[in-house]
């Protein structure tokens, strides 16, 4: 197990390095720069501006500088948000994004697993079909559609919830973004747990539990629940990535002050340090979640530790 952990952690840092290197050079190689919009700038001012962000140096030197600062946890100054460093912007945005994302995942799991098991327990009956339809809707209709529609119904027409804004995290402001973020994840989790529970139910130990005359709720909750959850663990990592992607759009639609908004702003204005900073934060989050999912999976199923490790089943 220890060797497995070490090999997994050993892959993590080089992966992060490759990501940093790739995105750094991709962005510098491309034509155009962060000061394109200010076309009327005097050449001397432009030169000074570029010098103040070290953009006048050779790309390799810039890369060395960036890595050095990164090692000390310094992500550099933002170009489009003047007077802010990238770390400050991320420190402002990350709590909002994290709160939204983690709450959404938690809610999706808490609601999705029981729904999936309920559907499986009533396989091919109306409840199964109803939950299946709900799940299909959640998967097919993206947050891009649900978020504005929810705003239209509850914000504009019924006027019961705020149309947009964070309101310093008031619950009224969270309901609509969370709903839009939870629905697709809930649908996928419900589907996964339905399939997983159906598999588990055919196993001999469940039959044995039934044969001993245990009540159905005990069979489900005590014997079948844990093995049902095992395949869900490997969904954890892609789920985190999915929630983060979703939250970019959600933050945009509801005007929430999260990291996603800074990312889009940075991408639109070619704010290199800002985009890099957000990519590093997000990529680390995904890598760590991948690692945790792999470890949890290996801890639950010893066969994976010994077998060929083809990466996480993302």
């Amino acid at each position: 197990m220890l060797r497995f952990v070490a090999s997994r952690v050993g892959v993590l840092l080089p992966t992060l390095f490759v990501i940093v290197t790739l995105s750094f050079f991709l962005m510098r190689v491309a034509p155009g720069g962060p000061f394109d919009a200010d076309a009327q700038l005097e050449p001397e001012i432009l030169e000074n501006l570029r010098a103040s962000y070290d953009l006048d140096r050779p790309v390799i030197a810039q890369f060395g500088l960036y890595l050095g600062n990164l090692a000390r946890g310094d992500l550099g100054p933002s170009i489009s948000f003047k007077d802010y460093t990238v770390s400050e912007l991320i420190a402002i945005g990350l709590p909002v994004s994290l709160q939204l994302g983690l709450t959404a995942l938690l809610l999706a799991t808490l609601a999705g697993v029981p729904l999936g098991i309920l559907a499986a327990a009533n396989q091919n009956r109306w409840l199964d079909h109803a939950i299946g339809t709900l799940a299909m809707t959640g998967i097919a209709v993206p947050s891009l559609i649900t978020a504005p529609l929810l705003t239209l119904v509850f914000g504009v027409t019924l006027k019961v919830l705020p149309v947009a804004g964070w309101g310093d995290g008031a619950w009224e402001n969270r309901v609509l973004p969370l709903t839009a973020l939870v629905l697709p994840q809930l649908a996928i989790i419900a589907r996964l747990s339905r399939g997983s529970f159906l598999d588990v139910r055919r196993q001999n130990f469940i039959r044995a539990a039934r044969a001993r005359g245990l009540p159905e709720w005990r069979v489900v909750l005590v014997h079948a629940l844990k093995p049902t959850l095992v395949p869900l663990v490997s969904y954890l990592a892609p789920a985190v990535a999915g929630v983060m992607t979703g939250s970019i759009v959600i933050e945009q639609i509801f005007g929430l002050p999260g990291v996603g908004r800074y990312f889009i702003q940075g991408a639109l204005s070619r704010d290199y340090p800002l985009v890099m900073g957000v990519v590093i934060v997000y990529a680390s989050a995904v890598l760590v979640m991948n690692l945790l999912a792999d470890l949890a999976y290996a801890a639950l199923d010893p066969r994976i530790r010994r077998g060929f490790s083809a990466g996480s089943a993302a």
Binding site: V11, T15, V18, I19, L22, S23, L26, M27, V29, A30, G32, M136, I139, A140, V141, P142, L144, I145, P148, L149, T151, L152, V156, V163, A241, M244, T245, I248, V249, Q252, I253, F263, I264, A267, L268, R270, V275, V278, V279, Y282, A283, V286, L287, N290, A310, G311, A314
Partner: protein, 298 residues
């Protein structure tokens, strides 16, 4: 005597007649949700190409007299007009052409790259396989959507780069699926037979391995098309994808969201088209999975 022989031949023919693919096609045709999906797609595609012929309007013509009018038969503004007085009916059709084209072409690119990459890695095996799959692992760790946004940031907001950027990221899963299938197919007798007859590796991969791993790939690509359409919509919604004067469903939904309280049809109509397409592809994908993999029926 001859009659008996005739019935025997007929019986033998009916025994032999059902190929694996035909059986799958039969199961697919019997799946009502999947057939509804096909019907929806046919209708939307037809709409995309017929709408501009039927409507008297051009997608870029502004009618400053009629800004944000609700859907009406008057002046043939069947879906109403947007904030610039442009007819939504032809714009939704134009968006459909762009969104569907991006979905199909990009999926094709991703499938071609993924199948070849995965088949080679799986068939060659050993160190080559390890290196190739490690590359996939590293790329996988980069959240797809961010990778695409970086690519679009770098190479500009160009519709063909949107194709490429999405395709360049989406082949990874296909490569993994195909590699796994190839590892299994490599152990089979027919591949061994081909190898012992002296067939070269390229021939074995293209003639024996690829056709036999195609089932899961078909299912996955059917589900990849809506994913790609969705990614494109997300990008366009954020202003990083398709640019004016061109349009796509994502861009239309974005503009509809901006006019949410004054002109809700600008959101609801394109959103319905996108949702219907998503449903259609998902139904078809599920139907194909059930049809191609009957083991799951139990």
């Amino acid at each position: 005597m001859t009659a008996d022989a005739g019935t025997l031949v007929a019986a033998a023919a009916s025994l032999r007649g059902e190929s694996l693919w035909r059986a799958a096609a039969g199961r697919f045709a019997a799946n009502r949700a999947a057939m509804a999906g096909v019907l929806i797609l046919v209708l939307i595609t037809a709409f995309a190409f017929i709408a501009p012929l039927v409507s008297p309007h051009e997608m870029e013509t502004n009618d400053w007299e009629r800004i944000q009018i609700a859907p009406t038969a008057e002046q043939a503004h069947w879906f109403g007009t947007d904030a610039n007085g442009r007819d939504l009916f032809v714009r939704v059709a134009a968006g459909a052409r762009v969104s569907l084209a991006i979905g199909l072409i990009t999926t094709l690119v991703a499938v071609l790259i993924g199948v070849l990459y995965g088949a080679v890695a799986g068939y060659v095996g050993g160190r080559t396989d390890q290196v190739m799959m490690r590359i996939v692992d590293v790329l996988y760790a980069l959240p797809l959507f961010f990778a695409i946004i970086i690519l679009v940031t770098v190479f500009g907001r160009n519709i063909f780069l949107v194709f490429l950027a999405i395709g360049a990221v989406e082949w990874l899963t296909i490569a993994r699926i195909v590699r796994g299938q190839t590892l299994a197919a490599k152990q089979t007798e027919y591949v061994e037979a081909a190898r012992s007859l002296g067939a070269p590796a390229t021939r074995i991969i293209l003639r024996h391995i690829v056709p036999n791993v195609v089932g899961p790939v078909i299912v996955f690509s059917t589900l990849l098309v809506p994913t790609v359409i969705l990614v494109e919509s997300f990008l366009s919604f954020l202003g990083l994808g398709v640019q004016e004067p061109q349009t796509s469903w994502g861009l239309l939904i974005s503009q509809g969201t901006a006019a949410l309280d004054s002109a809700p049809w600008l959101l609801v109509i394109p959103a319905s088209f996108l949702a219907a397409t998503m449903f259609a592809f998902n139904f078809i994908g599920d139907g194909l999975r059930d049809a191609l993999d009957p083991r799951d029926e139990a």
